[in-house]
């Protein structure tokens, strides 16, 4: 009888220990849930909040240049060399400081062009931009006399490229 009592007491003690184990496991499960929930809650706001202002009416654009695997700088440089060269501008350098996405596979490249040319050729370049303003826009234009006495022209363009 005495042994039976002690066995029952051991069973009772084991019950207490097992309850403790179960409670610890449940607490750990709760900790896992909270950790995942917190990690999920820290997710930044969706990209929709950063879209363009609704007030601006956006129209589909036609790209001036297609890169076809080449870098934006090379593609834009080749294109401008041809187009502006026809207008009498002798291109010295072409830089593309930024290329930003426009959506629908298009990008907006900011292009800084330095070329040799006078006021007349820069006016021709402005005219060319005005004709192609669906794909090219002129941010700024500066015409002056360079150190060697020849005319220099600096254009900052925004170009839609694909």
């Amino acid at each position: 009888m005495n042994r039976q009592v002690w066995m029952h007491r051991a069973a009772a003690l084991a019950s207490v220990v097992l309850v403790g184990v179960a409670l610890t496991a449940v607490t750990s499960i709760g900790g896992d849930l909270i950790a995942v929930d917190r990690a999920r809650a820290d997710t930044p706001a969706s990209a929709a909040s950063a879209s363009a202002p609704a007030a601006l009416r956006w129209q589909p654009l036609k790209p001036a240049v297609r890169r076809n695997g080449a870098s934006a700088k090379v593609a834009v440089g080749e294109y401008l060399n041809g187009r502006l060269g026809e207008l009498g501008l002798n291109i010295i350098s072409v830089e593309t400081p930024t290329v930003r996405p426009l959506g629908d596979g298009l990008h907006l490249a900011e292009v800084r062009v330095e070329a040799r040319g006078d006021a007349a050729t820069s006016a021709a370049a402005a005219n060319w931009v005005a004709v192609n303003r669906e794909a090219v826009r002129l941010k700024s234009l500066a015409v002056g006399v360079g150190p060697d006495g020849s005319g220099t022209c600096t254009l900052v363009l925004l170009m839609v490229i694909a």
């Binding site: 499960i29 995942v36 700024s140």
Partner: protein, 260 residues
């Protein structure tokens, strides 16, 4: 080891239970609450029982509801009846009686009984241990699953975060690019420059010697050398130059309003 361990008997007592003499009565009380009914009976126990109230134990069992009253079966037991050694370990003694054709079980509290709660609890200990073992096993399995789920989910969430941040950055760049493009929608430097060139051409049909020119979407600045006709340029819409040169050289600005 406590000395009274030998007194813990987990098996039912084999000795026969002596018959209890329970006096029964039927009462009609205006309450359904058992506690209130017992209080009423306790106050009137002298009249309900032929025995002194201090020498008796009683129990009330509700039988039925009848016209706003509750019919109770009252069982009265002589307190001395529980001094029998058979009841020494029973804290509650039950006695079944037939009252008005119904089987009623009265429960009398045996205040003199030894405390057998441990023995009664211990009887359930093995079963309780099995139940707890099952619970612990389930909880541990759940914990294992939860740990695995967390280990798998946290990297996924981190990847989702990176993707969301990338998309947000992309959307921000897109909004900025579209904003820049749209800001040149009405007039860019080219249209303004051509417009000013047209105005200058109208004002000075013979042409103008320009040493430098600058145009942006808001204004056009022309710098002329000596012999420049600033007055004609001002007449064409340029802002008057500040600190002009008597020879006619200087810079003029065609503001936004000129080619609005």
């Amino acid at each position: 080891m406590p000395l009274d361990d030998l007194a813990l008997d987990l098996t039912p007592a084999p000795t026969p239970v002596p018959a209890l003499e329970v006096m029964t009565r039927v009462l009609r009380l205006p309450t359904r609450a058992p506690r209130q009914a017992r209080a009423i009976v306790r106050l009137q126990l002298d009249r309900l029982s032929p025995l002194p109230a201090n020498d008796t134990l009683f129990d009330l069992v509700a039988l039925r509801q009848d016209a706003g009253e509750t019919v109770y079966a009252l069982g009265i037991l002589r307190r001395a009846a529980l001094t029998d050694p058979t009841f020494a370990s029973q804290r509650t003694v039950t006695a079944a009686r037939s009252v008005e054709g119904e089987e009623v079980v009265f429960r009398f509290r045996n205040a003199g009984a030894v405390d057998d709660r441990e023995a009664r609890w211990l009887k359930h200990a093995p079963r309780l241990a099995l139940v707890c073992l099952g619970l612990a096993a389930v909880a541990l399995a759940g914990q294992l699953r939860a740990d695995q789920w967390r280990e798998r989910r946290l990297p996924e969430i981190a990847a989702e975060k990176r993707l969301a941040a990338q998309q947000a950055r992309l959307a921000e760049q897109q909004a900025s690019a579209r904003g820049d493009w749209m800001s040149l929608e009405r007039a860019d430097a080219a249209t303004r420059y051509l417009c000013v060139a047209g105005l200058v051409g109208s004002a000075l049909p013979g042409g103008l010697a320009v040493t430098s020119a600058a145009a942006d979407p808001h204004s056009v600045t022309l710098t002329t050398g000596s012999g420049g006709n600033l007055a004609a340029l001002v007449a064409a819409g340029a802002a008057p130059p500040t600190g002009g040169d008597p020879s006619g050289a200087g810079s003029v600005v065609f503001p936004r309003e000129v080619c609005a």
